[in-house]
């Protein structure tokens, strides 16, 4: 074979090699194996050590550039990423990163460490150099693009498969502070933030046990949002953990912006107005729930953690209950239950009594109310519904409008509008009082505000149309509905229906902490005892 022919063959081989490498985007070894298995001619050529060396060098050069190019071109706008080529000892390397999401200082120090390395035979050696300046790990090629999008920098080494992922994330995050919805007088004030790692760390800080498991998942085709499923091994029921993970994994969605996107997946009845998944903004609350045998879910970008199973009684519990005296905590819980009952049923009861059952109201009270109702053009049901509508509009507007206007609007809404309407004789003062009391009472259980608001309107309508008869029927149906509701296998009405005596210690009544020796039975934890005294 002439030199020319051999050269031609080499060139043909090289083309095939390049095409294959481009198509497969695999490591050199994989390409070699692939080619060895598929092309007899190439196999013959590869046997020639001299030719093999030339090929390998050519391929490796091509491979490095090709890998970088492949990743860059996989982006809709390739200029989004920045690639830096540099030498590590005698080898070539390339670093790929997203400039807006990475810390320049970390990148510089990593580059400096890499360049300073005299010798580099592979990723392990390079990793040792990098680890001195930053957090890093060896990863697969396939994960490179995803890691870059998470704010990491990726280093490819010429002639070696895989890559090094350098943690160079840099984005602004909120400081850990007290959450606005779960403020406490006593107890920890730390709250979750939008940063995933911070949130997980806040829990890990409280549960320093090897049994704490943090299973990380990536959810969302486009968003690739990090989701962590947390549980304490041996305390959380295995089936429950499995169920939660499988339900989250089954979600095929573009992206999840908040943990609430996962709520319908975890609920048995997503159309129900009652929450079957708990939410918490405080790591101490989540940690204690994990210790009860629950599973928590944390989503990157969300300051709200989800907990399952979630029982109805939890709506009336507060994290602070456990930092107060048992008797006072019990009093507060009873108060919350009364308040929510008032919030839901009081408008309906008022309408029912004034429409159909005057005799139920004590005589003196009835006379006072009837005097106030004199001249009101609307019947009680429409009057209450009108005030409810006014209240909901004011509430919605005060949440959405700029804070500087909030106070002024509150004055206009509550004083001017309310007072003027009463003076004008459109609505009555008992009606305003009933709705005001009901609305204030609504916020004693913040997690139930939405549900209670809807129920309040519903029971007002029922009370107006069917009187006490309607209300009783409505309550019976409501209790029946709640009885059939489960949260990840745990009955929502536990520990009352089914009656679980042990769990009553931390139901409405909160016994002193030392007597709460067992975990809630409703959650079915395999490890029942949590305290010995």
């Amino acid at each position: 074979m002439s030199v020319f022919e051999r050269k031609r063959e080499y060139c043909e081989c090289f083309d095939t090699f390049a095409k294959l490498a481009n198509t497969l985007r695999r490591s050199t070894l994989n390409c070699k194996v692939f080619i060895a298995g598929h092309s007899e001619r190439l196999k013959k050529l590869l046997c020639d050590s001299c030719v093999f060396g030339i090929f390998l060098r050519l391929f490796r050069t091509l491979k490095l550039m090709d890998r970088v190019k492949a990743i860059t071109e996989s982006f809709e706008l390739p200029s989004t990423l920045v690639a830096r080529e540099f030498g590590v000892g005698k080898k070539k390397a390339a670093m790929l990163f997203h400039p807006d999401m990475t810390d320049e200082l970390i990148l510089r120090s990593v580059l400096r460490a890499c360049v300073a390395a005299n010798k580099c035979s592979g990723y392990e050696e390079l990793l040792r150099e990098i680890l001195a300046v930053s957090e890093a790990e060896i990863s697969d090629d396939s994960k490179a693009a995803q890691k870059i999008l998470s704010g990491d920098a990726v280093i490819f080494l010429d002639g070696a498969s895989g890559c090094i992922v350098v943690n160079a994330k840099k984005w602004d995050k909120r400081a850990v502070m007290e959450p606005p919805t779960e403020t406490v007088v006593r107890g920890p004030r730390e709250g979750f933030v939008e940063d995933f790692k911070t949130n997980v760390t806040l829990i890990e800080k409280r549960l320093r046990t090897r049994k704490l498991a943090v299973e990380k998942l990536n959810i969302g085709r486009e968003g690739n949002t990090a989701v962590a499923v947390l549980y304490v091994g041996g305390i959380a029921k295995k089936e429950l953990v499995k169920d939660v993970i499988s339900k989250i994994k089954a979600l095929d969605i573009d992206a999840i912006s908040d943990s609430h996107y996962l709520v319908p997946c975890l609920e048995g009845r997503p159309n129900s107005i009652f929450p079957q998944v708990g939410t918490a903004e405080k790591p101490d609350v989540v940690a204690s729930k994990l210790l009860e045998g629950r599973v928590a879910v944390i989503v990157d970008g969300s300051p709200i953690a989800l907990t399952v199973p979630f029982l109805l009684i939890e709506n009336f519990h507060s994290g602070e209950d456990y930092y107060e005296r048992a008797s006072f905590a019990t009093f507060l819980r009873v108060l919350r239950i009364i308040a929510i009952s008032l919030a839901i049923f009081l408008p309906g009861l008022y309408v029912a009594d004034l429409t159909y059952h005057y005799e139920v109201v004590p005589l003196k009270l009835l006379i006072t109310v009837l005097n106030a109702l004199k001249g009101i053009p609307l019947p009680p049901m429409w009057e209450i519904l009108f005030i409810l509508l006014l209240f909901e509009i004011i509430r919605e507007a005060s949440i959405r409008m700029p804070k500087s206007l909030g106070t002024a609007m509150s004055i206009v809404g509550a004083l001017v509008l309310g007072d003027t309407a009463v003076k004008a004789g459109i609505i009555s003062s008992p009606g305003v009082m009933i709705i005001a009391l009901s609305s204030i009472a609504l916020y004693t259980a913040p997690a139930l505000v939405g549900t209670s608001s809807l129920l309040r309107v519903l029971f007002t309508l029922i009370g107006g149309l069917g009187g006490l008869y309607g209300l009783i029927l409505g309550v019976t149906v409501l209790i029946f509905y709640l009885s059939s509701l489960n949260s990840m296998g745990a009955p929502c009405l536990a520990p009352f229906a089914p009656l679980i005596k042990n769990d009553l210690k931390d139901g409405i009544v909160r016994r002193q902490l030392l007597s709460l020796g067992t975990r809630p039975e409703a959650l079915g934890s395999p490890n029942k005892r949590r305290l010995r005294w």
């Binding site: 005799e359 139920v360 069917g466 006490l468 008869y469 019976t476 029946f480 009885s483 229906a497």
Partner: protein, 397 residues
Amino acid sequence: MVETEKRISTAQLFTVIFILGMGLKILMLPVLMLKVVGRDSVLGLAGMGVLELLCLGAMLAAVMLSPEKSFFDMTVELVGKAAAKIIFAFLSAFFFFKLLLLVGEVRVFFSENLLQNFSSTVYSLPLCGLCVVMGMGTLRAIGRTSQFLFPFIAVAMLCLFVFIGMGVDYSEIFPLGDYGFKSTFTNSFKHSMWFGDYSSLVAVIGSVRRTKHTATAGVIAGIIASLTVIFYMLGLTASFSNVCYLLRFGQNVTGMSHYALGDVMQGRLDVMLFCMWIVSVLVEAGFYSFTTVSCLEKVIPVKKELLSLSAGVLLFAVLLLWQSTSDLQAFAINYFSVPAAVFQIAVPVFAIIVTAVARRREKKKRGKTCGEYRTLQTETANTQCDVKSEGAECEAE
């Protein structure tokens, strides 16, 4: 086999029995009986109550004997599928009629006490809706509902007890035996439709998580329910026995307690209490609806939701056609007393027979399996011995 998670607990069975035992009886029965047998209605009620407790005992025995199978499966094993379907068709018809009576009485009760200007159609519709919803549900949900509501019902009843107990002169129940015992029991027997509520426990056979206290708890619930009914009967007799003609529907509870309270300035507290108590009657209606639909489901194998909806529509239609509850009650007294009595006794007896036979068969089957297992074990043990001895012999050699 019924799954463990879907069964009701002993505590839930207790509340269900208590509600079944007193719901329908307190509602109208005292008024109806007082009109017919006057003061002797207490005796009649006590007699019928004893008979009913015996039926409850039989039903509880069936519950305890049942080998964790549904009642229908056991019936099929005993009499065959066709016969079982016929039996269940009868059961569903019987429970539907009881439901009809109950809903009719609730309608009247509300119209007498709360909304006097409403038409009966308006009353019937939400009640039928409730029956449809609860008919679609599960036994576990009904058990939990009754368990959750039980404390409220108990508190309401205790308050009514106190009000009535304080305000009624119980010496008015005497003299007893004016009508003669025969006449009393004959007239009481005519009200059989208001008894036999425990026969609906066929729906729970095989679906109770049994403990050693299950039967005792059931019996106690039945006794408390019977005593409660008798107490109201005593209160009503003491209040109105001399002026029976004044009695109207719905006066048995509210009338008595209002009369006992007698203070208009405080408002009608009794109405609020009776509103809490009446929930038990609604739960009973739901239980009947569930039982009717469960029995019907075995006869017509279609979706439970569809059956429940159909039963609800039928109930509404019948209530529309049969607008007078007095006519409904008269029908039950005049034409349905004998079938109701037969049903009341036949259902528990049949339940015991079915469960006893099923249990014996299960035991036999288990014995057979155990025998086979033991034989197998012995054979294996023998073989092992042989092998061992052979091994030992070999070793000796």
